[in-house]
């Protein structure tokens, strides 16, 4: 799913041909140079380990949490320029156990920064119909399986659920589920840091954060023994606290 259309080989060829026809042979415009590549990775962890279904970790309250689902949307992935933003992708889907790495071709030049949202941008989220997308698109009916429930509330931006052992008796029966959606809960993660993309250069952006820390933000701690279920619409307060934890935890870095 990694490559969304930006610069297809055909397109580059055509642009090149047009360039030669129209501009003649002086200094090539940036669009006529070979593109650079940006790879986005998202290395979330769960209690310091990689995120795997079935793994358990101990939260700040001493609950043992066993993970059954961790999935989220990375949406509105954009390069920032001095005049606005260039959309690299509308949405990607992060799933436990997947490769979770996406690459985009970028026209050489200087950029002001980069941003990605945890969630689906409002223009695709409100009163949306997933059947308008190809089935395997992250926002399509099959591609969004488990992360889209109904027409009105839109997509589930992020989903973390499983069962907890709150007694220390190896008794994983207490359910917990943090299911976040809604335009108000869209989180922008951005890096304002000008840098230059040269032809054929490679750049990486990495999102990182430990899921357990989503539950332990100083101003919005969550104890899954008590506050264990939100699907957002039903428990907006708990969803907001989880979002606060996400916002405080997730970082974005560039390399190089």
């Amino acid at each position: 799913m990694a490559h969304r259309f930006l610069h297809s080989p055909t397109l580059s060829l055509v642009t090149l041909a047009l360039g030669v026809l129209v501009l003649g042979s002086c200094t090539p415009a940036p669009e006529d140079q070979p593109p650079g590549t940006i790879t986005l990775t998202a290395d979330f962890s769960f209690g310091g380990d990689s995120v795997l279904v079935g793994r358990t970790a101990v939260d700040h309250n001493g609950n043992h949490l066993r993970l059954e689902t961790f999935a989220l949307y990375l949406g509105g992935i954009e390069l920032l320029t001095d005049t606005g933003a260039i959309r690299l992708s509308d949405a990607e889907r992060w799933d436990a156990g997947d490769d979770n790495r996406w690459s985009y071709s970028v026209v050489p030049g200087t950029y002001e920064g980069f941003r990605v949202h945890l969630g689906v941008p409002a223009e695709f989220n409100t009163d949306t119909d997933p059947t308008i997308w190809p089935n395997d698109h992250p926002l399509g009916v099959a591609g969004s399986a488990g992360l889209f429930w109904s027409w009105n509330t839109g997509y589930i931006f992020s989903k973390f659920d499983g069962k907890a052992d709150t007694t220390g008796g190896n008794d994983f029966t207490h359910p917990y589920a943090y299911h976040i959606g809604g335009d108000a809960n869209l989180i922008e993660v951005r890096l304002d840091d000008p840098w230059t993309v040269d032809p054929c250069s490679r750049h990486g952006f990495s999102l990182a954060g430990d899921i357990l820390q989503f539950l332990s933000a100083a101003d919005a701690p969550i104890d899954p023994a008590i506050d264990n279920v939100t699907h957002t619409g039903d428990n907006p307060d708990l969803a907001a606290r989880y979002v606060t934890g996400q916002r405080a935890t997730v970082t974005l870095t560039r390399n190089p």
């Binding site: 297809s8 060829l13 055509v14 041909a17 279904v53 089935n135 429930w149």
Partner: protein
């Protein structure tokens, strides 16, 4: 990623041809029917997702006709008494009213026959998802000892002995040779045309009819969070059904695998774990569509429940706790606590998903 071609690229492609004056190469991503077979465009009903047709099995008029004959062909079972349609009966939405299926040898299977409805949109097949494509799925029942019990070489030899079938295979696939691959492709083509989109609910979505107050109330309960807010944070006295039987694409299934709390142990049938070997997949089965559910009793993978009332009582109870029960089930908080009138409304809504035009469609009936 054949789908990601945007109009922009197509435009540029055209331009490229104009500029370079290139010759018209056939697009290698689009498979033309290999024979003179007539392409058949499948109409996608309103609010349905696009249907992905495998590039190596495009739908054709001749392929679908052949598939229908094969679906109903009893010669494809060892003693020529059983066809696909013996277990997948039209009046039950192409499911079966018995708890589990009985093959020609009298051997009983362990699972309830699944309704065949809108198969072109399913992403995994069987209760445990062991087949990834419809073509692959069709290969299984004919040689299966508990079903039609006819080894493939014999099955294809029987068909090859019938000149009418040879001619039909030729018309559909451009070859006189009859193979298991050809049989599975033709039947898969036929199954993709078995589309149901004319239930009362569909017509309501299209603005053609009204739901009664009770049906609409049931629809709302279906789409509301479950539980008493005093007990379950955020409960809305709803049914929680939409989490797994979601309305997106109008199929009322997420095609994912869940344990909806039927059992506490899974030795009788491990479900998805039997395919993946993962203990955490124990007791997880593919969410079935709820389309035509009023016609497909008995219910669940092993047909253990006779009525929809029983099914609703099960969900209302919250289900049986286990290591893999789905977090959406209200097993730890006293169940859904639906009142009798709410259950009646939910039931009325489930009945709006019945499409009698589909089950009576002569295009799917036995042609022999």
């Amino acid at each position: 990623m054949a789908h990601s071609l945007s109009p922009l690229v197509a435009g540029f492609g055209l331009l490229a041809l104009a500029v370079l004056g290139g010759s018209c190469e056939p697009d290698p991503t689009v498979c033309e029917p290999p024979s003179a077979a007539t392409p058949l465009e499948i109409d996608i009903p309103p609010f349905f997702p696009p249907m992905d047709i495998p590039p190596d099995n495009p739908t054709t008029v001749e392929g679908v006709e052949l598939g229908r004959l094969l679906f109903w062909e009893k010669a494809l079972s060892a003693d020529s008494t059983m066809s696909c349609g013996t277990c997948h009966m039209p009046q039950f939405s192409f499911a079966e009213p018995t708890q589990v299926s009985t093959g020609i040898t009298g051997a009983q299977g362990t699972r309830n026959a699944m309704a065949l409805i809108n198969m072109g949109w399913a992403t995994r097949f069987f209760w445990d998802g062991r087949a990834i494509t419809l073509e692959e799925q069709v290969l299984e029942p004919i040689p299966h000892p508990d079903e039609m019990n006819l080894p493939w070489p014999e099955a294809t030899a029987r068909l090859a002995a019938d000149p009418a079938y040879v001619a039909r295979f030729n018309a559909a696939f451009g070859s006189d040779e009859i193979t298991a691959d050809g049989v599975s492709k033709a039947v898969a083509q036929f199954l993709r045309t078995m589309i149901s989109s004319d239930s009362k609910f569909d017509r309501w979505r299209r603005g053609q009819v009204q739901l009664t107050d009770q049906e609409f109330q049931g629809y709302e309960i279906f789409n509301r969070e479950g539980g008493d807010p005093e007990v379950v944070s955020g409960g809305q006295f709803g049914g929680d059904c939409f989490h797994c039987h979601g309305e997106a694409g109008l199929q009322f299934t997420d095609y994912l695998f869940h344990n909806n709390g039927l059992d506490s142990t899974f030795s009788a049938d491990p479900g998805l774990a039997g395919v993946t070997g993962q203990p955490l997949d124990s007791g997880r089965f593919r969410t079935p569509t709820l389309r035509n559910v009023a016609l497909t009793a008995p219910y669940m993978h092993d047909g253990r429940m006779q009525t929809l009332e029983e099914v609703l009582d099960h969900y209302n109870s919250g289900g049986v706790p286990s290591a893999t029960i789905d977090p959406f089930m209200k097993y730890s908080s006293g169940g859904l606590m639906l009142q009798p009138s709410q259950k009646a409304a939910l039931l009325a809504f489930l009945h709006t998903l019945t499409d009698t035009a589909f089950v009576q469609n002569p295009a799917f009936a036995d042609p022999h």
